[in-house]
Symmetry: C2
Subunit: 407 residues, 2 copies
C-alpha cells in the first residue's frame, strides 16, 4: 500500500479517531504486524499535538502459550504495579488507540475455560477502575492487516497479495479516499441526522421480525439515546470510537426482552465459530438457546456472568452499508458488526441515556443499562428484516423495512 495513503489513514485515526489536542497523551495498543504503520501513527499523533505517545505492543500468539503453561492463579494475578498503572490511566485519561490485526483463528485450541476463569478474576480488580473511566476519555479502534487474518479472508491469494487486498478492504470501508477527514465529517452528519430522528420519537420498544423466525420485542429505557458515529466524552471532547462504523445503536432496558431471535451470520467468539443459533428471551433474560455449531461455546458465553444473559445493545445497520455490499466477511467484529443489524449480549453503554452525565454509572445501571464482563455482538440483520418502533403514546413507526432504513 502506498505510504501517502497509509499516512492519510494514520492522520484520520489521530485526528478524527481520538481527536488529539495539544498536550494530550495517547496510548497505542498494537500487535507486531505493521510496525511501519504504527511508526507513522505515532508521528501523526505528535503532529496532532500529543505531548506523549506510548505504544504497548502485544503478540496474540503468546496468549495461548501462557494459558497452557501458567496456573489459573498466576494467570489471574493483577500485580500491584498493574493496578497502579490502571489508576494512573484513570487519573490522567490518555486517549486510547487500539489497532487490531489479529488472526481470527488465533485462539483456536486454547483452553477457554481456564482463560475465562482467569479473565473473570482479573476483571474483578480491573473493572471497577475501568468503570471509573467510562465516558471520560477519547478512544478509537481501527485495524491493519495481519498475515493470518489476510490469509483467512483471501485464502486463494499469495500472502503478499492477500495483505494488499486486506489493506484495500480496510481503507475502502474506513473511507480513506482523497480526503478522509471530509468523508468522515459527511458520514457523521448523516448518522447524526438518523439519531436525531429516532431520539425525537420517544420510543419505548423495538419489534424485530424476519422470515427466519425472529420475533423479538425489546424494551427501551425511558430517555434512551440512539448514538452513531462520533461521540462526546463527559468533558465534551468529540471522538470516533470505531473506524469504520455504520451503525446507529442504543442500549436497551436490561430486564425487558420477550421473544426469539435467530442469528443471520456466524459469530466468531474466542477463536471459534458459533453458527445458526437462536436465543429466546423471557423477562429480558436468555432462557433457552441452541446452535447448529458451537452450542457449548454459546452456553459458556451466555452463562459467563449474570449480565451476559441480557442484552446490552441494539444496533441498526442497513443491508446497503458498504461493508455488507462488499460481500466480504472480515471475521472481525469491528467490520462485521457494520455489515448487519445486531444485538449484543452483556455490558451496555451508559452514554445511551439522555443527559447521561447527570447520573452516576450506578444510577444508569438502575435505569436498565446492563452490567457484565462481556459485550458480544451477534448479527441478526436479514434482507427482509423489519424493525418497528413503538412510541410512548402507542404509535407504531416503521424504522427498518426489508433490511434497510425505512426513512
Amino acid at each position: 500500500m502506498k505510504k501517502t495513503v497509509l499516512r492519510k489513514y494514520a492522520k484520520l485515526i489521530a485526528t478524527k479517531g481520538v481527536n488529539l489536542k495539544k498536550g494530550d497523551t495517547a496510548v497505542i495498543r498494537a500487535d507486531l504486524d505493521q510496525p511501519e504503520f504504527i511508526k507513522m501513527l505515532v508521528e501523526e499523533c505528535y503532529r496532532a499535538g500529543a505531548a506523549k505517545v506510548e505504544v504497548e505492543w502485544g503478540y496474540a500468539p503468546l496468549t495461548k502459550i501462557h494459558v497452557r503453561n501458567r496456573s489459573v492463579k498466576t494467570l489471574s494475578t493483577v500485580e500491584d504495579w498493574e493496578v497502579a498503572k490502571l489508576n494512573h490511566r484513570a487519573k490522567t485519561l490518555p486517549a486510547m488507540i487500539y489497532i487490531l490485526s489479529e488472526d481470527p483463528d488465533g485462539q483456536k485450541g486454547m483452553n477457554q475455560e481456564k482463560n475465562a476463569k482467569a479473565i473473570s478474576a482479573r476483571m474483578k480488580v480491573i473493572k471497577p477502575i475501568r468503570d471509573g473511566m467510562e465516558n471520560k476519555y477519547k478512544w478509537c479502534i481501527a485495524a491493519v492487516p495481519g498475515k493470518a487474518w489476510a490469509k483467512k479472508m483471501f485464502p486463494g491469494e499469495p500472502a503478499g497479495r492477500a495483505m494488499e487486498k486486506l489493506w484495500e478492504a480496510i481503507l475502502y470501508t474506513s473511507r480513506v479516499d482523497d480526503d478522509p477527514v471530509a468523508a468522515w465529517d459527511a458520514h457523521n452528519a448523516d448518522l447524526k441526522n438518523r439519531c436525531d430522528t429516532l431520539n425525537s420519537m420517544n420510543l419505548v420498544s423495538l419489534e424485530y421480525k424476519s422470515a427466519n423466525g425472529t420475533d423479538l420485542k425489546v424494551g427501551l429505557i425511558e430517555n434512551a439515546l440512539f448514538l452513531g458515529g462520533g461521540e462526546y466524552t463527559l468533558g465534551g471532547e468529540y471522538f470516533n470510537p470505531n473506524i469504520p462504523t455504520e451503525e446507529v445503536f442504543v442500549s436497551p432496558k436490561a430486564g425487558d426482552a420477550e421473544g426469539i431471535v435467530y442469528s443471520s451470520k456466524p459469530l466468531s467468539y474466542q477463536g471459534e465459530v458459533i453458527d445458526n443459533f437462536y436465543i429466546r428471551f423471557e423477562g429480558g433474560k436468555a432462557v433457552e438457546w441452541g446452535a447448529e455449531k458451537g452450542a457449548a461455546l454459546l452456553e459458556k458465553l451466555i452463562t459467563m456472568d449474570e449480565g451476559a444473559a441480557k442484552l446490552g445493545e441494539c444496533a441498526l445497520v442497513p443491508q446497503k452499508s458498504p461493508i455488507c455490499q462488499s460481500g466480504l466477511t472480515f471475521y472481525n467484529t469491528l467490520f462485521d458488526e457494520n455489515a448487519a443489524c445486531h444485538l449484543a449480549l452483556g455490558m451496555g453503554f451508559s452514554n445511551c441515556i439522555k443527559d447521561y452525565d447527570k447520573y452516576t454509572l450506578e444510577e444508569c445501571r438502575e435505569m436498565g443499562i446492563n452490567n457484565s464482563f462481556v459485550h458480544e455482538d451477534f448479527m441478526i440483520g436479514t434482507d427482509d428484516l423489519s424493525v418497528v418502533g413503538v412510541t410512548k403514546d402507542g404509535k407504531r413507526v416503521q424504522i427498518f423495512k426489508d433490511g434497510n432504513w425505512a426513512f
Copy 2:
C-alpha cells in the same frame, strides 16, 4: 534458519543463560524483529519450569521520534506506576532476558544531548532501585538478527541472505552446535581455570603496552576478583549473563590509572562512531583525550557524569577468540567486546571483589568499584598487546603476549 537449531538456541538461553528453575518468573525484552523466535523462547522458559513469562516488546525506531517530539520534561518523567513496577521487580527478582537485534545506526540523527538529559533525569529515579537489585537476579543478553543490522553487516547480500548469514554468525559465535549445553559447560570450565589462575596471583596492577602507543598502568582493588563466563547471584544461582562471551574481566580501582591508551577498533556509541581515539589518565581519571572521528561525542561520553571519566572494567580477550577470528565486525558490543581486549569507562561491577556478598554496594564503591550512569566498552586489543601483572610482592607476570594468553 532451521527451527530445530533455533529451538536449541532458545533452550540454551532459558537453561544455561538464565538457568530457569521451577516457579521462576522470566521477563523477556525484545524488539519486533523475530517474534517467532521469541515465541519459541517463551515456550522453552516454561519448559524449563517458569511459572510466568512476560514479554516486553520494544521498537527502537520509535525512540528517535519520541526524542524529537517530546519535551525534555516529558521524556524525563518516570511515572509512579513505573516506579511501582521497578520496585515490584526489585522485590520479586525475575530472571531478565534481553534479546538484542537493533540497527547499529538506529539512533543516527537523534538529538543525543536531549536524550542524555532525559536519561540522566530518569536514572536518578531508576538507578537506586536497580542498585538494590544488583547481583541478586539472573540475567542474560543474547541476540537475534534484525533486518537493518544484517544489512549493515552484510551490505552486499540480498536482505534474506544477509539475515541468514547473521543468524549463522550469531549461532556460531554462541556455540550453538549439536549440543550447545555441553559446549557451554566446557567453555565455562576453561574460563574458570583462567580466572582461578589470575585470582591466585594477588595482582595489584596491570600494565598494558602496545606498539600503537598504549602505555597504561591500571591499579587493582585488593582482593580483586577476575570473572569470566558464568556468574553466581548472591543467592547462589548460576547464570550466564552474556551469550556469547569470551572475556575474563575485572573491575579496576577507580582512582588508580596512569598513562595513555589507544583504541584498536571503532566505538559505536549512541548510533555514531568514535574512531582512532586516545585517552590519557592521571590519578585514575581521564584528563586528556582526542579522536580522529567523533571527538565531540567522546567528550560527551567522558563528561556524562563524574564516574564516566574513570575505568569500570579491564577485560582480557585473546586475538584467537572465534569472534576475532571470524573477522566480522558486528557493530554490537555483545559480540565486538569479545573480539579484543578492552576497557570500559563508567560503572564497575561490585561482584569483582572476593567475598563481595559480605559488603554493601556502598562499601564496594569505597574500595574502588566505579559508580556512573554509563558503562561503555572500548577495544584496545592488538596483535602485539602485552599485559603484565604486578603481584603484591612485586613480581611481574606475563599475562598476555602478542595479543593472546601467555599461560
